[in-house]
């Protein structure tokens, strides 16, 4: 049975890259601990560990934009994973963009928006 290596970072977490299973776009990166990892395997829904709130986090539990895991890849060192996912609701980013990586770095160090906004976060999170 596969054992991931959670020992390499000081906080015992490893990064999980959420990648659109069809387009290959990277939608976000979050972290998992052992519990989040097993929960993801068991449920087929991407579950992370939030570093800010310090608890298990089923991505989309508030917005409804959960991630169905279609395939999981692991790297050579067993300390990073890729969740190939189907993004329900079309947006992974809490700012309403399809991808959290919606900005590119220009030559002068400034940022420009290249991503697509899918929803207005004010409407989704303000209940």
């Amino acid at each position: 049975m596969l054992q991931l290596d959670f020992s390499k970072s000081a906080d015992g977490l490893i990064p999980a890259i959420a990648q659109d299973w069809q387009t290959g776009d990277v939608l976000m990166l979050a972290y998992i601990n052992e519990e989040a990892w097993h929960k993801t395997l068991e449920t087929g829904v991407a579950t992370y560990w939030t570093r800010s709130r310090k608890k298990l986090w089923i991505k989309g539990e508030t917005s409804g934009n959960i991630q169905k895991v279609k395939e999981i890849l692991v790297d050579c060192d067993l300390d990073t994973v890729i969740f190939k996912i189907e993004q329900v609701g079309d947006a992974a980013c809490h700012e309403g963009y399809r991808s959290c990586f919606f900005r590119k770095v220009e030559a002068d160090g400034s940022l420009s928006v290249v991503g697509k906004r899918v929803f207005d976060p004010e409407k989704v999170y303000k209940k």
Copy 2:
């Protein structure tokens, strides 16, 4: 001027995802500190911080398989970056595969190889 947030992990590093700028395949994930970040911006060649050797690491300095950075994306929280790269030499993984993510997790928890081997690491690293 863009300032990344290196404060969120206990070790002061942030993950950099190296993604093939043409196919969208994720080739590897490594870490950067402030110095590696500026070095990458200045040189246009992906430079990381190796956690095992604890020093700056120009990816490919030994194998010749450097990564030319074509575009950089940053996430909403400014604590993860994507280097869209051209992988020189066709392999990012020190095990000789195009991608470090050359194995998938099967339903029973075992791993199967799905990636393509490009070189024999014995020949490249043994000088």
